[in-house]
Symmetry: C2
């Protein structure tokens, strides 16, 4: 795209490299910042640089962090006997937002996917086993995504952890809150039936 300002074109091109940002959106973002005070662009630029400089990976749970071990792994208020195994740092964020989990995490960094060539070596599986062998762990929640790759990953990890004598669990499947029976897919509905609980009236 040819504008009379190469610096504008350059910024449009950089924005367009982000996922879900097409050329029109990239243009809109650029012209928005062009009209905004310089301070706003500067703060975004600083945040970008600082994020890359300061964020590292916790060598215990492999979540993103600025300190190693991360605040969760270092916290005496968390129950380090329960490890919630997730695929991505975003999953940790989602679970933390529920405020209903007080254990620790283990971020695998993806899920097994023969289709995409992601094997056990690409994930933090051996580190998880070593952590469980460490002793303290009583329960491992295999909280990988409720899809094919996530289920496959959980099924791969489970037999490796069983010999350690820990309790292995998986997040409940069922109808989402606010969902509508009529529109639930068959898989979800059959899992909801299987997992039915006594009515607490």
């Amino acid at each position: 795209m040819q504008t009379t300002a190469p610096a504008v074109t350059a910024l449009i091109e950089e924005f367009a490299k982000l996922p879900g940002v097409g050329p029109k959106t990239a243009q809109r973002l650029t012209f928005f910042l062009l009209r905004s005070p310089a301070d706003q662009s500067r703060r975004l630029a600083d945040a970008l640089v600082r994020m890359k400089e300061q964020v590292t990976t916790c060598t215990t749970c492999f979540n993103i962090t600025e300190t190693d071990p991360c605040p969760i792994c270092a916290s005496p208020q968390r129950d380090h006997g329960v490890i919630c195994v997730v695929e991505e740092p975003l999953d940790v964020l989602a679970i933390e937002k529920t405020e209903s989990f007080r254990g620790a995490y283990h971020v695998l960094n993806g899920a097994l996917s023969p289709m995409e060539g992601i094997g056990p070596k690409d994930l933090r599986i051996s580190e998880l086993i070593a952590r469980v062998q460490g002793g303290e762990v009583r329960e491992v929640i295999l909280a990988t995504n409720p899809n094919y790759e996530g289920d496959y990953t959980a099924a791969y990890i489970a037999p490796l952890l069983k010999p350690q004598g820990v309790t292995l669990t998986r997040l409940a499947r069922g109808l989402p809150l606010g969902g509508d029976l009529e529109y639930a897919d068959e898989g979800t509905l059959s899992r909801a039936l299987e997992g039915r609980r006594a009515f607490e009236g």
Copy 2:
């Protein structure tokens, strides 16, 4: 949003300040950059800073530029006797992409809008009149947007330029290319009828 890395939270917040970027998109962009090579974040940060440092406004046409006068105003290959008056720098971009205009531009920096309190003093109208009084100009195309504010702005400017003896034109209204008669709104269709041309078969 609380993550274990404040630098990540900061970047999510900065992204969320952009128009059309909600908290979920801001998260997605941040985690995308977190996984990408540091180089990508650095290039985006640099482009942001450079854009604000290097981009200025052409003192002739008020388009964005890195040099003053801008390459279009400075070009001997452009016809400076025809000025296309637009609202925003993005409009210049849109017209340049057609490659069917070889004249110069004048960016008003918006449109008159009594509702939003934008009056003639907020736009580059007096500068346009001064430019036309300069002599060389033969035609002024009032290419403000085909909406209420754009029409109003064109109607406000026209009588101010008429005494200079220049030809005043407005972009043609009609059916958009690839459009469907059935779905055209009444206004567009009645303008298309009004502006009908001899069939060139």
